[in-house]
């Protein structure tokens, strides 16, 4: 149904795709794998008509095509579900689904009624229950992902590209998505699925193609390509395990939270976090699991002071009563928060690596208000080395870095503040396999130095491998707590769905 041959593409003189092949059969889920920066997204953008200046040939249903625009690509049934969402937040769900192909009488007068009806039929077909007249901004991230997919279906897409569609979904929502994919498959659609998560790849793939550094490495069925081999294809070197060994060495108690309540920062009446108590020791990694809306991110933000002084409850830091005030105060007291959205709330994309690294500790690099450029550069040089950030220069803007390297820059920023307590919200989100392993190793290093870590991740294998203890949250409350040895995926999912689990 689709065949891409000898695709080459360069950006300002740098070759990003070199002789890449890709073939998709009808009714197939074809995983496109590779590290960040391997060229997966570029290849898909060419297919979707975003870039038209490439070399090579594309055949769709035996016809040679060369798309000049995404609109032209969609008329051939190619639909790209973007990694970064392309919804208009202030518009309703139905309007978003029909964006660009509005139903209108005589092409000018909006026909909301039939638009609504068609959207409803479409969503019902896939068992998606969404209020169509709600603005998108009021829908949780997972629902927005579904809306993106519904949008693709309106186009009557035959070739559906999904670029890390699960990065904002929890494990249960992922299963829902997979059911939808199966449904699409049975209707004869071909699905190109880009993902970094091994468990997902093996759950869904019928064939896997791998790119590395813009080159085509090969295509195989999952049976013939065990995970170890797949990783070797992707990174070009041997990574024996997915996770390094976690040696726990908790020290004395550092952070104690008692009956912590946080009002919903979006303004609804309910508590975002309700009656949460926890302790965290030096050198310990405490994992927190939970679905969207469980309040785990809000808990970290609340403790860090992102919302100011709205929280209730008692917090003790190193035995002393601690008052939550603001991020400025938290950083001074040795707290640090890596948010789950590095482009939105972590990095300053228009700034270079050096300035992003020094951002949270500018006072250490200035004297009487004057910046000490040499000191700043020296610190950045050291951090880039110790985090193994791959870049052309220290003054490269961070928006040109790959996801893994961007994440390392944000981590370097927080480690630069010399934190005692480090909150990590999805530290490996959208990060390639190699960089993930580096980040796990760093987490082990930090805790060995006595830093206490709270880890949120929606990847359960990661949570199980890296945490010393695991807390599970559901609708703002803690529903379970396990030492690592007693935790498993099944127990965690049960607790995350609201079942109190006793051990």
């Amino acid at each position: 149904m689709l065949s891409m041959e000898k695709i080459r593409k360069s950006f300002s003189g740098v070759r990003v795709l070199d002789n890449v092949h890709f073939v998709l059969k009808p009714g197939e889920v074809h995983v496109l794998a590779g590290e960040n920066g391997a060229g997966k997204t570029t290849l898909m953008r060419i297919l979707a008509g975003v870039y038209s200046d490439y070399e090579g040939k594309i055949w769709i249903n035996g016809k040679n095509v060369r798309f000049k625009s995404p609109l032209e690509a969609s008329s051939y049934g190619v639909s790209f579900i973007h990694q970064e969402m392309s919804l208009i937040n202030s518009m309703t769900v139905a309007d978003n689904i029909f964006l660009g192909r509005e139903k209108a009488w005589a092409g000018i007068w909006m026909d909301y009624h039939s638009q609504h009806k068609k959207a409803k039929a479409l969503l019902e077909q896939f068992n998606i229950d969404i209020n169509l007249s709600k603005p998108v901004e009021e829908c949780p991230l997972s629902v927005r992902q579904m809306i993106e997919i519904a949008k693709a279906l309106v186009y009557e897409a035959r070739i559906i590209i999904m670029d890390e569609p699960t990065s904002s979904l929890t494990d249960i929502e992922v299963q829902r998505l997979f059911e939808i994919i199966m449904d699409l498959k049975s209707k004869g659609c071909g699905i190109i699925y880009i993902s970094h998560r091994l468990d997902e790849i093996y759950q869904i793939a019928e064939r896997i193609s791998v790119l590395r550094d813009g080159k085509y490495i090969g295509t195989s069925t999952p049976e013939d390509l065990p995970p170890g081999e797949l990783i070797r294809w992707m990174v070009g070197r041997e990574i024996s395990q997915q996770f390094p060994e976690r040696l726990s060495h908790p020290g004395k108690e550092l952070l104690k939270v008692r009956s912590f309540y946080l009002p919903d920062p979006t303004g609804s009446k309910r508590w975002a976090v309700e009656d949460v108590s926890l302790t965290l020791s030096k050198g310990e990694i405490l994992g927190i699991a939970g679905l969207q809306g469980s309040g785990k991110s809000e808990l970290l933000h609340g403790l860090f002071g992102s919302y100011g002084k709205i929280a209730k409850g008692k917090v003790f830091l190193d035995g002393q009563p601690y008052t939550i005030r603001s991020p400025i105060y938290s950083i001074e007291c040795g707290l640090a928060l890596l948010t789950n959205d590095r482009k939105g709330t972590g990095l300053i994309l228009a700034m270079d690596i050096t300035r992003n690294i020094s951002l949270a500790s500018l006072k250490d690099f200035s004297q009487g208000g004057w910046m000490l450029a040499h000191k700043e550069e020296a610190a950045a040089t050291e951090q880039v080395k110790s985090f193994d950030i791959k870049s052309r220069s220290l003054h490269q803007e961070v928006n040109t870095l790959s996801g893994g390297n961007q994440q390392k820059v944000v981590l370097a920023k927080w480690i630069g503040t010399q934190p005692r307590v480090l909150f990590l919200n999805e530290p490996t989100l959208g990060v390639d396999v190699g960089a993930k392993y580096d980040i796990y190793n760093l987490m082990n290093q930090w805790t060995a130095q006595g830093i206490a870590v709270i880890l949120i991740t929606s990847e359960l294998p990661e949570l199980l491998a890296m945490s010393d203890r695991i807390i599970v949250m559901h609708r703002g409350k803690i529903t379970a707590e396990f030492p690592r040895k007693q935790a498993n995926q099944e127990k965690i999912i049960k607790a995350a769905m609201g079942k109190r689990v006793t051990i």
Partner: protein, 337 residues
């Protein structure tokens, strides 16, 4: 074949060098200067006096653009600079002409007034989260009213109305003459030095001070900056305060040049100041730009006006041409990206 490929990459590299914002801003300035050489009005363009006058006439606008640059890098805008210029021009004239204050007191007082009004906008924007456009629009109207109130709607000049209804002419305060003079054998106007000084201050702030880093960070990504412990409200207060400070600086220069404080002075100047910043290449979205770009942008606008005026282009055509050339310059800069 291999050599062909090599040449291709080289040309690409040159292209990326060309995409530097400085080179782009400079190219726009060069284009205007070439126009000046081609349409030199029988050699007028080659006389230093022409350039000196260009700088003198440009200075007030360019000083406003300096403060505007700081605000625009925070992803804001300051529409109140023209009104603050008018208000401080009036205030300066009242203090020096009517009250007979020493310039050593009057100048700091006016700068303080400008900074306080600017910080009021900054407070509304930072603390109360009013959009910069709205907050400074309100301040623009308010400060204009203030200018009319303190002046009683009259121009404050050396002709002072006496209780008996006659005008009494007082002496021009010496500070007016100092600011209005030209130094170095009449080769450079004092107001131009004030302009250069403003550029230097802004360069120190943006490139050398921690405050500058805060300004860029807030414009680049306010939430990331806030979560990294950057004092967002204080920084906005200072950025708008500085914009008010430079507006007052421009107001003092304006009063000196006109030998009076006109409550109507500075109308639409905010638009010229924004045009200077934008033509320099500082991004209205915030987070990017520099004072050097604004300096080049100021020269581009200044020379454009000067060249049109020495060629005796009528005001109607001049305005239309200026509008067209601003768009042309911005499109040209973008095409190189």
């Amino acid at each position: 074949m291999k050599s062909l490929f090599k040449r291709k990459t080289q040309s690409v590299q040159t292209n990326s060098w060309l995409s530097s914002p400085f080179v782009r801003a400079f190219a726009a300035l060069m284009f205007v200067l070439i126009l000046g050489v081609l349409f030199n009005a029988e050699g007028t363009f080659f006389k230093w006096d022409t350039h000196r006058d260009m700088f003198r006439q440009l200075s007030v606008f360019a000083i406003l653009a300096c403060g505007m640059t700081l605000v625009i890098i925070t992803a804001g805008i300051d529409l109140s600079v023209g009104s603050l210029l008018g208000m401080t021009a009036v205030l300066f004239s009242i203090l020096t002409i009517h009250k007979g204050w020493s310039p050593w007191l009057a100048i700091p007082a006016c700068l303080l007034a400008g900074a306080v009004f600017g910080m009021m906008s900054g407070g509304l924007i930072g603390k109360f989260r009013i959009q910069p456009f709205i907050a400074t629009l309100a301040m623009m109207v308010f400060a204009r009213g203030m200018a009319k109130w303190i002046s009683g709607g009259q121009k404050i000049s050396t002709a002072v109305l006496q209780p008996d209804g006659n005008y009494h002419y007082v002496e021009v305060p010496s500070i007016f003459n100092v600011l209005n003079s030209k130094i170095l054998n009449e080769n450079i106007a004092v107001v131009t030095l004030v302009f250069f000084g403003s550029v230097f201050i802004c360069w120190i702030i943006l490139a050398k001070l921690r405050l500058g880093r805060y300004i860029y960070a807030i414009g680049g990504n306010e939430e990331a900056a806030r979560l990294s412990g950057i004092p967002v409200i204080a920084t906005k207060l200072l950025a708008y305060g500085l914009s008010g400070f430079f507006s007052a600086m421009a107001g003092i220069c304006q009063a000196a040049q006109e030998l009076q404080g006109d409550p109507e002075a500075g109308m639409t100047y905010e638009l010229t100041a924004i045009a200077i910043v934008v033509i320099g290449g500082t991004n209205l979205m915030g987070g990017r730009g520099s004072i050097g770009l604004t300096f080049i942008g100021a020269l581009t606008i200044g020379y454009l006006e000067k060249i049109l005026s020495i060629n005796a282009v009528g005001e109607a055509s001049r305005l239309m041409l200026t509008g067209a050339i601003i768009i042309g310059a911005v499109l040209f800069q973008r095409s190189r990206r």
